[in-house]
């Protein structure tokens, strides 16, 4: 079982090759072994996780679930019912969420196991996950370096094999940037694609719940399951959700790659982008 393959986990659990309980115990052991040094998680409740995994094992005997047994880590500014939601702040140290975000309901309906809540810059305001009131989240590739932020805990949870997938939130780069720092995939969807109901607001007209995964297939899988109109968020887009998984088979040829002109605008230090390595990368992607 490879925890870096959420698609493979659900396939194996649905096929009865491994139980959700076994997957959950592997993830919990991994957290126990490495998170003392990384600091990705703020809350992990092993008994709740195991009970939830057992429930999945009972359901998959009856019917298949698209995320059966996949351990998913959740940024601590997204509400999960009956769990702490601190937003990385002492102000909410003892706040227990009385309801779940729509994205969480959809994950759980799909068979995901919420493995724990992850560290972030306080209320999402930061870019390094050093500004949590609780602890610093370190980069698994080099403990002396930052994980990026504000969704650093969610990026590290996936990068260090403590979860198969995670959710963060992106207002101005808070998922794209830590995912990049931690060598995982982070996707900021179009505003309104994923319901914000149950996401603690930072800047409401910009906030997006955004998934983090180890590969594009896992990203397509989770995005398709949590996207779509939600009556609880009037800004969620009434736009049909495409089948992202089948889109993976389309050719890349003909796609357009955009480089924002603003990267080179006045007041921006464009020096790193003018390096030959960047031009080489652009040519490589274009070819």
């Amino acid at each position: 079982m490879n925890i870096k393959d959420a698609f493979g986990i659900q396939a194996a659990v649905n096929a009865g090759e491994i139980s959700a309980r076994e997957v959950a115990e592997i993830a919990l052991k991994r957290i126990e072994a490495v998170d003392g040094r990384l600091g990705a998680f703020l809350t992990v409740e092993p008994e709740t996780v195991k009970a939830r995994a057992d429930e999945i094992d009972r359901i998959v005997k009856e019917r298949k679930l698209p995320l059966a047994g996949v351990p998913v880590a959740i940024k601590d500014n997204i509400c999960v019912r009956a769990m702490r939601t601190t937003c990385g702040s002492r102000i909410l140290d003892n706040y227990i969420s009385p309801y779940s975000a729509t994205a969480i309901d959809r994950l759980e309906r799909a068979g995901a196991v919420i493995i724990g809540k992850t560290n972030c810059d306080e209320f999402g305001m930061g870019s390094s996950t050093e500004n949590s009131a609780f602890k610093v989240t370190r980069n698994p590739y080099d403990l002396e370096r930052v994980s990026g932020g504000s969704s650093g805990g969610s990026a590290v949870a996936v990068a260090a094999s403590m979860a198969g997938l995670s959710l963060g939130s992106d207002t101005g780069g808070s998922v794209r940037q830590p995912a990049s720092f931690c060598n995982v995939f982070g996707l900021k969807p179009t505003y309104g694609r994923i319901s914000r109901y149950g996401l603690v607001a930072f800047a409401s007209s910009l906030d997006c719940i955004a998934p983090i995964a180890n590969n594009p297939r896992d990203m397509a899988l989770v995005l398709g399951l949590i996207s779509g109109r939600d009556e609880q968020d009037s800004t969620s887009a009434p736009v049909p959700v495409p089948d992202y998984l089948s889109a993976l088979n389309h050719a890349v040829r003909g796609l357009r790659l955009g480089i924002p002109r603003e990267f080179f605008g006045e007041g921006i230090d464009a020096e790193p982008l003018l390096k030959p390595e960047f031009a080489m990368l652009v040519r490589w992607v274009a070819n």
Binding site: I96, P98, G192, S205, R229, A237
Partner: protein, 129 residues
């Protein structure tokens, strides 16, 4: 020298002055110019203290931000329909309103579960008046 007497926030006394906007937005100039007094006024409202030389620096930074926003005036919007939100679509009204019907919601106990001092079905807070 950060002497206490120089702290605008400590000198702050509130009153009608506090209700006036920090910049005279009714001034009507096509390009607003930021004075050190404007910076001091905003600092006072934000309860911040700056050194003399910082005030000059902030005044010019404020000015650059306003000049940047000024550029928007160059856009011809005479034939553009006003939009208040990016996600609004043609069938907006159909999608954001729902029937006014009673639905399951949090119980009183659930609503009060996080309250530090709940009492007889209410949030109890310190008396302020």
């Amino acid at each position: 020298m950060a002497g206490a007497a120089a702290l605008p926030c400590l000198a702050y006394a509130g009153g009608p002055e506090a209700c006036r906007p920090p910049l005279d937005v009714a001034r009507g100039d096509s390009t607003m110019s930021i004075t050190p007094e404007d910076v001091l006024k905003i600092a006072e409202l934000a309860r911040l203290y700056f050194e003399e030389e910082e005030i000059e620096a902030f005044a010019s930074q404020f000015q650059r931000i306003l000049d940047y926003v000024e550029q928007l005036k160059q856009v011809d919007v005479r034939n553009v329909e006003p939009t208040s939100h990016v996600s609004l679509t043609a069938d907006y009204e159909k999608t954001i309103f729902r029937e006014d019907e009673v639905r399951p919601s949090l119980t009183v106990e659930e609503s009060l579960a996080n309250a530090p001092d709940p009492g007889s079905g209410h949030f109890r807070v310190p008396k302020v008046l």
